[in-house]
């Protein structure tokens, strides 16, 4: 069924692996939820309606170009396993 293929694609995009032995029940769940989503397709919305991405209508905070104290990354690594001479260790990129 189509949903299993879609799940594979989404899983690649989102880097969220799916237990393939349970993909059937996941597919059923997602299908049900998307069916719920599809309800908005019924609505005919006039062209001129602008999408609303936020309900914040105040003046947006902006910052001045003045340095404040930085913190360094050490606090994130109490075990000392993540860092190597100040660099964060990462898996290979190639």
């Amino acid at each position: 069924m189509g949903w299993e293929k879609t799940i594979k694609h989404l899983s690649t995009l989102a880097l969220v692996d799916v237990d393939m032995s349970r993909v059937g029940s996941l597919a059923r769940d997602l299908e049900k939820i998307v069916e719920m989503f599809n309800k908005i397709a019924e609505l005919n919305i006039p062209e001129e309606v602008e999408p609303l991405y936020t309900t914040f209508f105040g003046e947006i905070n902006v910052g001045e170009d003045n340095e404040l104290e930085s913190m360094g990354i050490g606090e994130l690594d109490p075990s000392g396993k993540r860092l190597e001479s100040g660099y964060l260790k990462s898996p290979k990129t190639l």
């Binding site: 939820i33 719920m36 609505l43 919305i45 999408p51 905070n61 964060l88 990462s90 898996p91």
Partner: protein
């Protein structure tokens, strides 16, 4: 104020009483703290409101330092339970997820900083649905939290831990977050008062994002007065949050009076009291409406058919934003760690995200990715954003005629453990009356309206942006009585 059996008289006092008693005798604070820890000692093992509870000795030491400096501030030493998606420096912040099981943030959320500066003491971090995705607190990666009124039932979610800690007198008040009802639903199910502020009134800096355009931090208390006191402290402009309103705030406590401060015109939206609402809940709700009418408040009915679309609109937007917000969890900088040597980054990321996220979180990330993907964006995400505009406009129109609206907080009584968790649609439907408020960025409060078969029933009052004062006043009319 009706309390569950876990509370004692001393452990259930209000912030105001605490502040007054401590001013008379600083030692009272230590007696109070010991009493709260006695309640915790006795009941926490069953209730499981907390993910991380600070040892009493730590709390006592902190209080001693505050007392030594002399000034306790408006919170007067209140023990504040903080939802575990709010960043606390030096105290692990798990978001109810394996992903962040050992994550100890290097910084305090703005709300936490404000609580501390106002004499509040963080007592612990509360249980929640993983990354706030859920309505029952059963989606916690660690354990479910139980409802103190009936241990076979859920406390609601996602802020179930915060609500239970307050309801069962394991804390004075709590901070929680509300994306689509996560404060109000558990408040309703636990007989507490929970307020979701106007979007932008309370800083989100340090709140781990779920749906950034919907999220707000708010207080849960045993009474309206306590909720107002905490809102006083946490609201206000924060230069670290671009979406923080520059409004003069504070003074919410003065709205907490037993008589109406104006001749309120209140509306009931018919769609919120018709389909799918439990008969018994409607009965309680109607009695609350009657009570308000006695206070010389006008209550009228209006239709808003657009609300039929609020659930899909809400979930499309929330999941889209969630899929983006949760991309950062890859185990590299913080959170669960994996050995990296000799491995390719993409394999490590997949492994971490497989192990770190629970099923509901994965579902929402996948669906959020789905509605944002090429070719589907217009039909789902963009369309939902347009429906959101219409819903917002409807509310704006509505509140030209009315000061506030009222509805049941939840269409049902608290479900039993495992009753809804297996059916996502059933689970999502618990939020039917709370999500429209977040879509429109409005303030809302849930206040106990009565009891059915020993279970609390919540009533939701919501209004136009920045109407928190009126909401607190109306909630107080419904609450009646004192505040411990």
């Amino acid at each position: 104020m009706t309390l569950p059996p876990q509370c004692t008289q001393l452990s259930s006092i209000s912030i105001k009483t605490l502040r007054r008693r401590v001013e008379e005798d600083p030692d009272f604070l230590f007696k109070y703290i010991e009493e709260v820890y006695r309640v915790i000692e006795k009941y926490e093992e069953r209730l499981r409101a907390y993910i991380t509870l600070r040892p009493m000795s730590d709390v006592i030491r902190e209080v001693e330092n505050i007392v030594k400096r002399g000034k306790l501030g408006p919170l007067g030493g209140a023990l504040v339970a903080v939802k575990d998606n709010i960043s606390t420096r030096g105290i692990r912040t798990t978001c109810g997820s394996k992903m962040l099981e050992d994550y100890v943030p290097p910084y305090d959320a703005t709300v936490v900083r404000k609580i501390k500066e106002s004499g509040g003491i963080v007592i612990g971090k509360t249980n929640m649905d993983e990354f706030a995705m859920g309505s029952t607190t059963e989606n916690s990666a660690f354990y479910p939290t139980l409802n103190p009124w009936d241990l076979s039932r859920v406390p609601g979610g996602s802020s179930g831990g915060s609500a239970v800690a307050v309801a069962a007198c394991e804390a004075t008040v709590a901070l929680a977050s509300d994306t689509g009802g996560s404060i109000r639903l558990p408040a309703a199910y636990t007989g507490t008062v929970g307020l979701k502020p106007t979007y932008g009134l309370v800083s989100r800096y340090g709140l781990v994002a779920y749906g950034s355009s919907l999220d707000q931090v708010g207080p849960i208390g045993r009474c309206v007065e306590d909720v107002a006191a905490v809102l006083d402290v946490i609201s206000g402009h924060d230069p670290r949050d671009s979406t923080s309103l520059k409004v003069g705030v504070g003074g919410f406590e003065k709205y907490v009076v037993g008589s109406p401060l104006k001749k309120y015109r209140i509306v009931v939206i018919e769609e919120m009291v018709s389909e799918g609402v439990d008969e018994k809940i409607l009965k309680t709700f109607n009695s609350v409406v009657d009570l308000l009418s006695k206070h010389d408040v006008t209550v009228e009915f209006r239709k808003m058919p657009l609300l039929h679309y609020s659930l899909p609109t809400y979930y499309i937007i929330a999941m889209a934003e969630a899929s983006s917000n949760l991309a950062r969890f890859d185990g590299l900088r913080y959170g669960i760690r994996s050995d990296v040597e000799g491995k390719l980054w993409v394999d490590v990321y997949r492994k971490i995200r497989l192990a770190g996220f629970g099923d509901e979180v994965k579902r929402r990330i996948l669906l959020g990715t789905y509605v944002l993907s090429e070719g589907l964006y217009e039909g789902y995400y963009l369309k939902a954003a347009k429906v959101r505009r219409l819903i917002y406009q409807e509310f704006t129109k509505l509140f030209k005629d009315y000061d506030a609206a009222i509805s049941p907080t939840s269409p049902t009584l608290p479900p039993r453990i495992s009753e809804v968790i297996t059916d996502p649609i059933k689970l999502y439907s618990l939020d039917i009356d709370t999500v429209p408020i977040n879509l429109a960025g409005l303030p809302a409060i849930s206040v106990p309206g009565g009891f059915i078969d020993g279970l609390p029933v919540g009533v939701q009052i919501f209004g136009p942006p920045l109407s928190e004062g009126s909401l607190l006043n109306i909630a107080k009319l419904i609450e009646g009585g004192g505040c411990g």
